[in-house]
Structures are given as C-alpha cells and as structure tokens.
C-alpha cells in the first residue's frame, strides 16, 4: 500500500515538475511549443544627418524605451570618429555622440533589432503618474474659440475617453467651423496639432502627453515618427491616434519616445534630419528566444544544453530522443506484448534508421542480417567456440557492410552507403541469437522475434523523427521527467497484454461453450 502511495507521489512530483518547468519556459521565457513558430525580427535603422559648423559637436538622440512586450536583441551605434555614450535621463534613454571638431555633412546611425512577444498576461507596468497640470496660455480670441469647442465636445461625451476621441475627430473634421479654423491655423504641422490637443485637454483638466512612435512595415525607408496623444484616464495611460481618434496601441507600432523632450538635439550643427528605415526578417521563434535568454544569462537557460558547444548539442539531440524509444519499447512489450530479440535492440535499430532513412535502413538491415544468417550457418559447421564464433560474425558483418557500401557506390546508390550507421556489435549479436533461435525453435520464432524487433524499431523511428517530438525533447528536456512518470505508471500495469487476448482467445470460446 505504502509502496503504491510512494510511487504515485513520485509520479505526481515528476509530472508536476516536468510540466511546470515546460509551462514556465513557454509562458515566462517565451519558448514556443511548436517548432513552426516564426517571429518577425525587425531591424530599424535611424539615420541622423546634419551639417557641422566646425565647432564641438554633441548629438543627443532619444532611444526607444524597453517595454515588456518587445525584446531588443541588439542595439548598434555607428558613427565615424565620434565618441559615443548612452545615458539615462528621467524622460528615457538617450544616445549621445560627441566630437571635438567637425565640419561638413555628418551622419550617425542607430540600429536596433527587436521582436514583439505576446504573453498570456502582461506583467503590470509601473504607471508613471502625470505631472501637475499647467493651464495653457492662449490669447483671448483663441481662448474663447477653445472654450466654445470644448463646450460642444463636452455636451456630446460621457467620459474622458469619449471626450478625447470626440475632440480629436472634431479637430480633424473635413469642414471645420470658424472657431476650429481659428484654432487649427494654417501652420497645421503634426507637432502643432499634438500640442493643441494636449493644451485643449489641459484646459479641460485632463493630463495628456505626446508620444512618438514608428510604424513597423517591411522595406520602408525614409520613414519618420508619427505623433500620438497619450491620455491619463483612470490610473492608466491610453494612447490615441491624433488623426482618427482611435484609442489603444496599434499593432506593429514601436513606441519611440514619451513626453515632450526633443527627439534629436544637435549642438554645433545645422540642417539636422532624421529618417528611419525598417526591414523585417523571419526567424524561428525558438532561436530568437534562446539567443536573447543566453544574452541575458537567464539561469535556467544558462545552465542548459544550449550552453554546450554545437557539436555536443547535436549529440544531445539524439540522446534526448532515446527516452522516447524506451517508452515505445515499454508500450510494445507491456501493453502489446510484442516479442523482440533483445530488449532494447529496437531502439538501436531505430537510431540507425534515423541516419539512413526508413526504407533504405530496413533494406540494409534485412540484407545484413539475412546474409549474416547464411554465413553463420556455415560457421556453425566449423565447430568454433562461442566467443570466437561471435567475433567471426562481427567480422562477417563488417565485411558485408563494406561490400554493401562499395557495391552501392559503384551502382550510384548513395543512400546505401549509410550502412555504417548500424551498430555492428548489435547486428552481430542479433545474427547470433537469431541463428540459435532458428536451430532450436525453428524459422517461425525467428520471424516472430525479428519482425517484432523491426516493427518496434519502425514505430520508435516514426515517433523519434516526428518534428514536434524532436523539437520538444531537445528544447524541453524536462519533458523527460514526464516520460519517466509515464514509464513508472506503465511499470504498474498488471492487465492483459494485447497478444494475450489473442493467446487466450480459445479459452474464451471454450468457456462460453461450456456455459451453455
């Protein structure tokens, strides 16, 4: 009783640990569960051009803030002969290039590779409180116009969100009223409009700030930032498109800067210009995550298989598939009741099949074992001692392999050269066992056990070459614990094997007949 309890608690522990770690890696670290998960990696390049006047030059440029929903893979600052530093400021990160003297046209680059992640739940962001509202300064005429406009809008809206949306749509209306034209002015630049909206909101007692963002579109060049208005509503900042009044952050928008600080300051230069170009590359999501986590030294990744050299990683790719093969063998033997020659020989055949591909592998296997059996039957007439005989069989197997390789090479059949992936010693043992089996129990038993081994191997092969399984075993090695738990449970199975239902089927008939 206790033994059973202990076993089940171990099983539950293993399951919980294995599944828990997998879910943690999926949800918290962003590991995709499917090998086909692709992510767009955006490479954004900001190019800053200006003409230096021959004086000391300082270029200060606002950098995008890191938020939980984007991952910055790499940031690059390039500019010839400029010293560079990245400095935090209350309003966000800024890049600073500087040089003692410069003259003529100058260029500085900032390159960022990033990807967006979608998480089940966004971790709560510390909301920065809005600063104290400053009443905007309008001259009398504008003030009246603004008050009138605000009155109109206020009448049509129930809460702050609707108010803001209404205000923006009114300002953007195709046929502006006289009041509106007065406010909008001719000098209706993007920045002017943003500030007008913020000012109008401030008159209404609503905190708002300017947000600059970049739309991510593949292959775009000479892009500039778009202005948005972010409004403080109910302890949260809500983003509004200043041209349409739509609220919420649009998809594929990278928020570059919040607040009214300048985007670019150039001291000692003129005609400064900034333009953005954007390129999208598609990568496997898993590669991006692993790369990113390695950079950030996430403990669970740092102490994982990924930290090994590539060669060892590839070896582990194979090794981590073995438990799948073991599970298949356990199922085939305990639940199906298939007889195999050698308990785990099928796994080794399956491993060889992975290298040779299925059909070629089976043909090679049958050829080697068949030829081996023929030669072995001759060896048995030579009256050899057992160890000598099996050693002889090993040499025979190697000779067969060599002949297959050479023959197939001459015939131009490249696949058959993979014969070397079959474990020679195991093949020799198989041949020896089968030949003894043949002598003692007849060919029927040889075919049953040989067929059973091959069938198990093929099923194991099918599972072990499944892309998803291969991906999961390598990237979530903790699933091995789940596998272990399954095997522990199967080890407790005391019911009938499928083959026994056949073995005892005559019994059922007899008993049924006897009852009548």
């Amino acid at each position: 009783m206790y033994a059973k309890l202990r076993l089940y608690s171990v099983v539950i522990l293993l399951l919980a640990f294995g599944i828990g770690l997998t879910l943690y890696k999926h949800f918290a670290l962003g590991f995709p569960l499917s090998p086909d998960d692709k992510k767009s990696l955006w490479t954004i390049e900001a190019r800053i051009d200006f003409v230096a006047r021959g004086d000391p030059v300082i270029v200060s440029f606002a950098l995008p803030p890191q938020t939980p929903s984007v991952v910055f893979m790499e940031e690059d600052f390039a500019s010839s002969d400029y010293s560079f530093s990245e400095m935090p400021s209350p309003a966000g990160r800024r890049a600073q290039w500087s040089k003692r003297t410069a003259s003529g046209p100058q260029t500085a680059y900032y390159r960022l590779s990033m990807y967006e992640i979608d998480r089940l739940a966004h971790p709560p962001v510390a909301v920065d409180l809005p600063p104290e509202l400053e009443k905007p300064e309008f001259d009398e005429v504008l003030k009246t116009a603004a008050a009138t406009l605000l009155d109109q809008v206020r009448n049509r809206s129930a809460n702050t969100e609707i108010f803001t949306r209404e205000l923006i749509t009114t300002l953007n209306s195709k046929a502006p009223s006289q009041n509106l034209s007065l406010l909008i002015n001719d000098q209706s630049s993007e920045d002017y409009k943003t500030h007008l909206i913020i000012d109008l909101l401030a008159m209404e007692g609503i905190s708002a700030r300017i947000v600059r963002g970049l739309y991510l579109e593949d292959g775009r060049r000479r892009q500039s930032l778009s202005n948005f208005v972010e409004v403080y509503i109910g302890n949260e900042w809500l983003l509004f498109n200043q041209n349409t009044g739509k609220s919420g952050k649009p998809k594929r928008l990278l928020i570059w800067q919040r607040g009214d600080e300048s985007l670019l300051d150039v001291v000692g230069g003129k005609n400064s210009q900034i333009s953005f170009s954007i390129i999208r590359n598609v990568y496997s999501a898993r590669d991006l995550v692993v790369h990113d986590r390695m950079n950030k030294q996430a403990g669970i990744i740092d102490f994982s298989i990924y930290s090994l050299p590539i060669e060892q990683q590839n070896a582990f790719k194979m090794i981590l598939l073995l438990p799948i093969g073991a599970l298949i063998v356990v199922i085939m033997r305990l639940l199906v009741g298939l007889r195999t020659s050698g308990t785990f020989m099928p796994i080794l055949i399956a491993m060889a099949l992975i290298q040779t591909t299925l059909l070629t592998g089976i043909i090679i296997f049958l050829t080697v074992v068949g030829t081996g059996l023929l030669i072995r039957s001759y060896l048995s007439r030579l009256n050899l001692l057992f160890v000598a005989r099996i050693s002889a069989v090993i040499i025979v197997v190697i000779a067969i392999m060599a002949s297959i390789s050479i023959l197939s090479n001459k015939l131009g059949l490249d696949q058959a050269m993979t014969v070397t992936f079959f474990p020679m010693i195991i093949l020799s043992w198989t041949i020896e066992r089968m030949s003894v089996l043949w002598e003692e129990d007849g060919p029927r038993e040889v075919f049953i056990q040989g067929g059973g081994s091959l069938l198990t191997a093929v099923i194991a092969y099918i599972f072990m070459t499944n892309r998803t399984i291969e991906y999961l075993t390598f990237n979530f090695p903790e699933l091995m614990l789940v596998n272990l738990a399954l095997i522990l449970i199967l080890g407790q199975y005391t019911g009938y094997r499928l083959s026994e239902l056949y073995r005892f089927h005559a019994l059922e008939r007899r008993n049924a007949a006897g009852k009548r």
Partner: protein, 331 residues
C-alpha cells in the same frame, strides 16, 4: 473472434504476463532465492538433501579444456541427457538414446558425431543457453525411462508434469506430451501437447497443441479421455515439498515418471509460464485467491496436498468462478 475481451478473461480469472510478473513473481519469489532453481546442480543437491528423487548425475563439465574428456565421461553410459546447468525453457538439452562410441543417436534417430556433441558442450559452457549469457556448466544426467502408462501418449520423448505450487499448495497442473513437431521435447511452444490434469484425481481434463484444443495425440492418435496420471498423490507431494526446499512462493515444478524409479523432480522454475491456464481451460487467479486467503501455511505437506485436492477438484457442474480477483489486483 480473433481477440478475447479483457473483461471476459478477467472474469475467468486468467492471469496475464504483467500480473504474473508483478503480483506473483516479484511478490512471492525473493530474488536471492532464484539461484537455487536457476542453477540445476544446486536444485539437484537440494532435492537430494530433502530426500526427493532426482535423475542420477553422471558427470559435469565446467571448463573448456575438459571437453576433451567428454568421450571418457560418456563411455560407460549408453543413454544420457546433456543439459546446461543454468539453461531455461528447455534450451540446450540434448538427449542421446543410443551410441556406438562413434555415432550418437537422438530419440528421432538422427545421428551425431562426437564432435557435434563437443561443440554443443562448448556452446553451453560459453553461455549460449544460460540466462544473460553468463558462462555455464554442463551436466550429464541419466536418461529417464518412459513409463509404459505414457507410451501411447508420447512420441520420441519423455512427457513431464508441470505443477504450479503456490505458497506450498499445488494449484494447477498439466502434462506435457512430446510430439513429432516438438522434436521429442516437452515444450509447448515447440509443439508439445499440454494436457490439463485434475488436481484431485490426476485425470486428463483438456488438451491443447499450439493453443488450440486437441482430442487425441497428433502422432499416436490416442484420445486423452482415458488418460490418468499414476502416482498422482506422490507427484503432488513431491511438488508441494519444493516450497520448503526453495522458499519460493510461486514456482513451477517439473516432474517425470520413471519406469524404474517412479516420480522424480527434474527441474524447478521460478517464472513458470501461463500456458497451463489454456491447457486447463481455467484461470489461475481464483486459485491464487483461495491460497492467499489462508493466513498461515500448513507445514504438513500431506495436509496441503489434501487441501488442494479438495479445493481445486474439477467439477463439471460448476462454472469457473467469476469475478474472483487476486489480492494483488486490489492494492
């Protein structure tokens, strides 16, 4: 129908391989006792000490260089059996019924050279037939003489009687008859006929070959209906005594009837197979449950045999008990 329903099999009390391994062997057979039965020499000595009749040991070969002496060892005997000491499932057993010091004849009449026998012996020594391929020893035993009772029921070999002894109580038995198909060996999967034997009377109940019912011996065409195993009580007692001898709770005792020496034990098995259920057309589980219900095992062999005879007598009017399960099933 090709497959039986698991539910029905369970209701007949058929024990499957997994349940046998888990509920019977691993529970009742302590591992450290295995060598007593896996090593046939040890079993033989143990049995002799307990006063149980066994076939006479003619000689052993332990080392490869002793194989040369084989001819001398075999010289005095006209009939003998060569066995691997740690063999299982009847593997590697060679029976010689006649020889002229040059050619050796198997029961089937096939002739073998001395060299063939020597090769067979070397194979055994290097562990070809032993469990796990460990180096083995060869033993040479006197040949058992066919009891005339079975002369109509066996072909080129000696039939043996398998009795399953559970905690010292014989619970099921079967007679294994050699056939032409089984090459004179009493192995069911090689084509020997298994005949279920009534524990109470020693009378044949039902016979199977290759898992299918047969009414008469395939070679001698004799029907099994009138077959009664003689010395039945003695056989049961010998088998039951093996419990004290080995300490194994679940064992299969293989016995033979020798024309001259009567019942004797040839082999014990710590992992007896399940084909006996097919031959008896009955499951082991209900019988195991009866014995598991007994609190203390009666130290008197005769009393245990009497209990078994009374409990497990074949009664044609009673259907096999339904839905009886072993304790192991409930845990």
């Amino acid at each position: 129908m090709l497959l039986a329903s698991a539910k029905k099999l369970r209701s007949f009390g058929i024990i499957g391989m997994n349940q046998r391994n888990f509920g019977l062997i691993s529970r009742y057979n302590p591992r450290h006792l295995y060598p007593l039965v896996d090593d046939k020499l040890k079993t033989k000595l143990l049995a002799q000490k307990a006063g149980i009749t066994v076939p006479k040991l003619l000689g052993t070969v332990q080392y490869q260089h002793d194989v040369r002496l084989l001819k001398e060892i075999l010289r005095p005997y006209s009939q003998f059996v060569i066995k691997p000491v740690k063999g299982s499932g009847g593997k590697g057993i060679l029976v010689i019924t006649e020889h002229d010091h040059n050619l050796y004849f198997k029961p089937s009449g096939d002739a073998m050279q001395l060299a063939d026998i020597e090769r067979h012996v070397s194979n055994i020594l290097s562990g070809l037939h032993s469990l796990g391929g460990k180096p083995d020893t060869v033993m040479i035993e006197s040949l058992i003489q066919l009891d005339p009772v079975f002369s109509d029921f066996s072909y080129e070999g000696i039939p043996d009687i398998r009795i399953i002894v559970f905690r010292g109580y014989p619970i099921m038995s079967m007679l294994r008859l050699t056939t032409h198909a089984s090459d004179g060996k009493a192995n069911l999967h090689q084509g020997a006929v298994g005949v279920g034997i009534d524990i109470a009377t020693g009378r044949a109940l039902h016979a199977v070959q290759y898992g299918e019912s047969v009414a008469h011996h395939p070679d001698t065409r004799k029907t099994f209906a009138e077959l009664i195993v003689p010395h039945w009580d003695k056989l049961l007692q010998l088998a039951a005594a093996c419990y004290e001898m080995t300490g194994l709770g679940y064992l299969g005792a293989d016995l033979v009837l020798d024309r001259d020496q009567g019942p004797m034990i040839i082999e014990l098995n710590a992992r007896p197979g399940l084909a006996i259920q097919v031959a008896n057309r009955a499951g082991l589980a209900p019988r195991v449950a009866v014995i598991e219900a007994i609190k203390t095992v009666d130290p008197d062999v005769q009393a245990r045999v009497a209990f078994s005879k009374q409990q497990f007598a074949f009664d044609p009017d009673v259907h096999p008990p339904r839905l009886l399960r072993t304790r192991s099933g409930d845990r």
